[in-house]
Every structure is written in C-alpha cells, then in structure tokens.
C-alpha cells in the first residue's frame, strides 16, 4: 500500500514541481520585492503605512510601464515589531519568496537583526522608517534608509526644549526598546551638550496601561517638560494619565507617535492636544508628491506618517534597477551611493553609510481636532 502511495506522491510532486517551475519561468517578468513591518499587533498602523505606500508606488510604476517592461510584485511580511519574528520573516522573504529587494522593517529592533539576513543574501534592503543610528552603523554594504537618524531627531528635540520651551526641568521617559531608549539617549546627550540635565530618566514597560506611579513621580520632580522615547500605544496612555493627574507639562516625543492611533490610544483628541513631536518635513506638502497624495485621498486613505517614505523607497529601488538593469544587491547599492533619486518627497541621495545626505527634522504639534501641524 505505502509503496503505491509513495509512487503516486512522487508522480504528483514531479508534476506539481514542473508546474511550479513553469509558473516561475513564465512569471520571471515580475520583480518580487518584500514589504516587511508590523502588520499585526499594537503597532499595526505603522505596518499599514509602509504597505499602503509601497502598494501605491508599485501600482504607479507598473502603470507607467514597470522596470524595462517588467512589473513589480510586492510580498507582504509581518514582523509584529518583534525581533525574533523579524528574522523569521526575513528568511522567508529571502529563501522562500526569492525577493530581489526589501522595503522595511519599521521598528529599529526588528530592522537591525533582519538587515543582517538581507545583507548575507546579497539583496538590497531599504528601511523607510527605522531611525536608530545602529541600523546603518554596522558596515552593511547593501542596507539603506530613507529617513533620518535618532541622533539628529533627538538633537532637534533637545534644541526645541531648550531654545523654544526654555525648559529647565526635563523628565526623560523611554520604553526600554532599541528605538525608544536610543532616541531618549540621543535627546539626553544633546540636552547635556546644551547645559541642561534631566531631573528623571526612567523606562516603562511596553504593553502596560498603568503609568500613574511614574506620572506621580514626574510630578513630584516638578518637571516642566516630559520627553518620551517610544511608540504611540504607550505615549497615548502616558499623556492621558499625566493630564488626569493634573500634570500640564508639555509632552515631546519623536516619529514613533506619528499615527492617528496615537489619538485612539489616548482616548480622544482632547488629551493629545499640545503634544509635540519631531518628524521629517511634511512630505504631503512637497509639490512633486501632490498627485500621489490625491490618489491616496481619493480612496479614503490619508497618507500620514511613513506612507510617502515607503512610496519613495520603492521609487529608489525601481530607479536603481532601471539604471543598472540589475537586481544584484551590490550593484544596486553602488548606484544608490553614487546617484540622486527623484522621489515623491523630492530628491534623495545617500552617503557612504546608507544614511540620507540631507534630513529635515521639524517640530509638529498635535491640534485639538486630533491632527498634527508643523510648529511655525
């Protein structure tokens, strides 16, 4: 019996194997590119930003004739913002999906281990959103980013605190994660450089909902500004509990809260009003990207946060592939190091590490209607 089943199985697998082979040969036209980020979990809103941006870019590039006639096919990968899962999906993208380039990941703690997988496989990886300095500080020749670095972002935050808010007593809180603590540390370093020392430096736990004890402590230190390095889920709860305890000091955070879900986590726009955040210059206002922004709005999606960064990332990958007629990571990387790409966010060029040559952190303020606006 088992012998016969074995025979049938091997015949079947041979047939299907051939079919699969034919399918691959037939579809060799499409260029597969992975999009990795937190598509589930508390930070899924950011994964959606990356996916939406890349999806729209692929649609536009394909409609304009693709890359020398070949279309782009995007492959989703969900890392849930967890380092372990990030490495798993990175291997899946490389070994099972055979992608030629990767857009992602979102959380620095995921990007750092996953980028090693891509580099070892010799494929190009560009993160639209991971700002931790370590992402590009490890001599990975084929890894880039299309966003700023936390040493720049933290510096911008510290300068705002000292020069604009004239704060003397700064409380620094972080979420003990690579991104959050890295950002808080960068801010703190610049703060010291400006001659201000923090009155408190503490880490809270991601996933918890009760920071009342910490808020009371901040209050007792008479802090006039609270800086938070972390993501929106905790930032929302923190700012709400600050206000409920009557602590009116402004909260300042970074690009980890640039999502409408920050408002939901706080339980209403009333609590987020007046919160400051550092983020790149609003890409939605750059003239060249106007038609893209309108395309998003037409389908009822506001391209907030990192959506356009992700769009620009795919444009950069496509430009490199078009110019070099290659899909090899090192060839593409060499081209990106040497050339400027015209993107939806304006021209972008990279230095030897893979960081952007020009970054533009500005300060935003959350308004009473639950949106954010650049501080003039």
């Amino acid at each position: 019996m088992s012998g016969r089943y074995g025979l049938i199985l091997s015949v079947l697998s041979f047939v299907f194997g051939t079919l699969a082979f034919v399918a691959v040969a037939d579809g060799a036209e499409a260029i597969r590119i992975g999009v990795a980020g937190p598509l589930s979990g508390s930070y899924a809103a950011f994964g959606e930003q990356l996916w939406r941006g890349a999806e729209q870019a692929a649609k536009d590039i394909n409609a304009a004739g693709g890359i020398h006639g070949r279309t782009i096919e995007l492959i989703k990968a969900d890392d849930a913002c967890e380092p372990k899962q990030a490495v798993n999906v990175a291997h899946r993208l490389v070994d099972a999906e055979h992608v030629k380039a990767v857009i992602g990941h979102f959380c620095s703690s995921s990007t750092i281990p996953a980028s090693v997988v891509y580099t070892e496989a010799g494929i190009l990886g560009i993160t639209p959103a991971s700002t931790n300095p370590k992402v590009t500080e490890r001599n990975l020749p084929t890894f880039f980013r299309t966003c700023g670095r936390d040493d720049q972002q933290g510096g911008a935050g510290a300068e705002f605190i000292v020069n604009h808010l004239k704060a003397k007593r700064v409380a620094v809180v972080h979420d003990k994660d690579t991104y959050g603590q890295g950002l808080a540390d960068a801010m703190k370093a610049r703060l010291h450089g400006l001659g201000v020392r923090e009155v408190l430096y503490e880490g809270l736990t991601r996933g918890e909902k009760d920071f009342n004890a910490l808020v009371t402590k901040i209050k007792s230190q008479l802090a006039d500004v609270v800086y938070f390095g972390g993501l929106h889920a905790e930032a929302g709860v923190l700012v709400r509990q600050m206000r409920e305890q009557g602590l009116q000091a402004p909260l300042i955070s970074g690009d980890g809260i640039v999502s409408q879900e920050f408002v939901a986590s706080a339980g209403g726009p009333r609590f987020v009003e007046g919160v400051f955040m550092t983020f790149g210059r609003d890409a939605r206002k750059i003239y060249g990207g106007r038609h893209v922004v309108e395309a998003f709005r037409k389908v009822g999606y506001e391209p907030e946060g990192y959506t356009l960064y992700s769009y620009a990332t795919l444009q950069a990958i496509a430009a490199a592939m078009r110019a070099t007629r290659s899909e090899q990571g090192d060839v593409l990387a060499k081209w990106l190091h040497a050339n400027t790409v015209e993107t939806v966010m304006g021209p972008k060029a990279w230095d030897a590490k893979g960081d952007l040559k020009v970054t533009d952190y500005v300060m935003y303020r959350w308004t009473p209607d639950g949106k954010y606006q650049e501080v003039e």
Binding site: E202, G207, K209, A213, S220, Q241, Q245, S265, G267
Partner: protein
C-alpha cells in the same frame, strides 16, 4: 519626600491592586475547585473590555444620554456576555478533559488563550481601540492638618468601590448560600460531593461564570480608566493577576484581593521611590520571598494530600 507623593503613590497602588485582585479571583476560584490554572482567564478579561466598549457605543448610538444609566446597563450586559464566554470555554475546552491527566487542561487553556486572542484580532482588528473619557473630575484627599496628600479621580473611586462590592458579594455567596456551600463541598472533595447529590459539573460551570463575571467588572472599569485597549492586553494583566493569586494563596478568595493590593502597592511604591525600570523585578522578588516563607501564599492553606 513629602506626604503628597506617598499618599498619591498609595492611591495609585490601591487602584492598580483592585484591578489585579478582581482578575485574580477568577484564577483562584478555578484553581480552588479544579486544581488547574485557567490561562485563558486573562483573555476573558480582554474580551470583556471589547464587549464593554461595544455596548457603550451601542447604547450611546441608541440615544442613552445619562452616564450612570449607560454604565449600569453596560455593566449588566458585559457581565452577561462575558459570563457566557467563560461558560463556553469551560464546556468546550475543560469539561471533556475532566478526568484526564492534570497537564491536559493546562495545555487546553493555553490553546484557548491563543484562540481567543486571534479571534478578537481577526474580528475586531489588530489596532488600538479607544473610548473617550466618560467620567470627569477628581477629589482631593486632605490629611487632618489640611495638607493635600493625594488626588483621586471619580473613576478610581468607582474602581475601588466596585472591587470591594463585588468581592463582598462573592464572599457572601460562598459563605451563606446553598450554591456557595456546594462550591465549597466540591472544592474539598469532588467525588464525595457528587455522592451526596451535588451536580459538580454544574458547580464547576458556575465557578467559571462567576470568575468571568468578576473579570467583566474589571474589563469595564479598566476600559473606563485607561481609555484604550487591544487584543493583547489580557497577557500582561493575566500574568500579574495570576501572580497576585499565588502571592495571596491560590485557592483563597480574600487572598486574591490581598495579593492584588500588595502587588499593586509594591509596583507603584517601588516605581515611585526607586526606579520604574525594575518595578516588576521587585514585585517578583517579593513573591519569591513570600513563597520561601509561606509556600502556599499569604492566606493559602497548605495542601493536604488527599487519600
């Protein structure tokens, strides 16, 4: 270190402790009667938070203007539906395994926990959900000499009083009603209780329903207090509440509440006066110390080998 900070941190700790205690009751009751740990209990609490938000939205949509009326209705509906979930979990995942190896229901519980989390993730989405603040305002607590030693929001007062009330009601049921007597009999010796005509399957189902009802109270209160939740909140709180149950003596109802309050106070005082980063380390160090001195927890009875 002035009185205000100490007072405020004690209030913070009591509120947190009341929530832990309410959830810990569910762990401790099930353990008391079946000798198993219901790891899905944290997720029952998570579901109750979603139910509370859904009913709140429905009632607001239906035009209920008065906040107290809406809250009472939401509380009743949430308890009802969460209790149904608790009953279903017991019926589907634990009753078929009643006479099997002790580890089997434990694995089943972990499975149920994963199923519930993903069921909510798929049906409600993975995003953070939030509700607006319903109850506004706070009162100041003054010491005898008129110095303010803390501030309590009305929601926090509601949490502590609801916790005390529902714990009191539960204790009364266990002590003074036929149902309570049957529960205690089943807890002491299930076979003997059955021989004496108690439907133990029925009693166990009731215990699951009561545990879920307490989790529902916690779910509604937490939703009101913190305003946001996602499908994963059951995990962290579940672990903490389970710790509280062990600290107070698993199987003991007052122990669960005491354990919750001690854990809440440990966390908030350590966080307030030493360091927030290591508050969990401190809380678990206290747990270990207590277990070294009293292996069955603060109010637990040493397990007697049944012959």
């Amino acid at each position: 270190m002035n009185g205000y900070i100490v007072g405020q941190q004690v209030i913070n700790g009591l509120v947190l402790g009341a929530i832990y205690g309410l959830i810990a009751v569910g762990y401790t009751m099930v353990y008391g009667i079946m000798g198993m740990i219901n790891f899905a209990h944290g997720d029952i609490y998570m579901i109750s938070a979603y139910l509370a938000a859904i009913f709140l939205a429905l009632l607001t949509g239906a035009g209920v203007q008065s906040v107290p009326v809406a809250l009472v209705l939401v509380l009743a509906l949430t308890i009802l539906f969460t209790a149904f979930y608790g009953w279903t979990v017991e019926r589907v995942a634990y009753r078929p395994l009643r006479n099997s190896n002790r580890l089997a229901p434990l694995i089943s519980a972990i499975g149920v926990s994963l199923i519930l989390q993903n069921y909510v993730r798929i049906s409600q989405g993975a995003r953070n959900q939030g509700i607006p603040a319903l109850i506004e305002g706070h009162v100041r607590v003054n010491a005898a000499d008129g110095v303010t030693i803390g501030q309590v929001t009305y929601t926090q007062i509601l949490i502590v009083s609801a916790a005390l009330l529902s714990m009191g009601a539960l204790a009364w049921i266990m002590r003074h009603t036929t149902l309570g007597r049957s529960c205690r009999a089943t807890q002491q010796d299930r076979v003997m209780a059955e021989l004496l005509g108690i439907n133990t399957d029925h009693i166990i189902a009731t215990v699951f329903i009561m545990g879920a009802a307490m989790a529902a109270v916690a779910g509604l209160l937490v939703t009101l207090n913190y305003g946001s939740f996602d499908f994963f909140i059951g995990f962290v709180v579940g672990i903490k509440a389970f710790t509280a149950a062990v600290l107070g003596g698993i199987g003991s109802l007052p122990g669960a509440m005491l354990g919750g309050v001690i854990l809440g106070l440990c966390e908030s005082l350590f966080s307030g006066f030493v360091n927030t980063d290591y508050k969990d380390v401190f809380a678990f160090a206290v747990l270990i110390l207590v277990l070294v001195v009293r292996p069955s927890g603060l109010l637990g009875h040493p397990e007697v080998e049944k012959v």
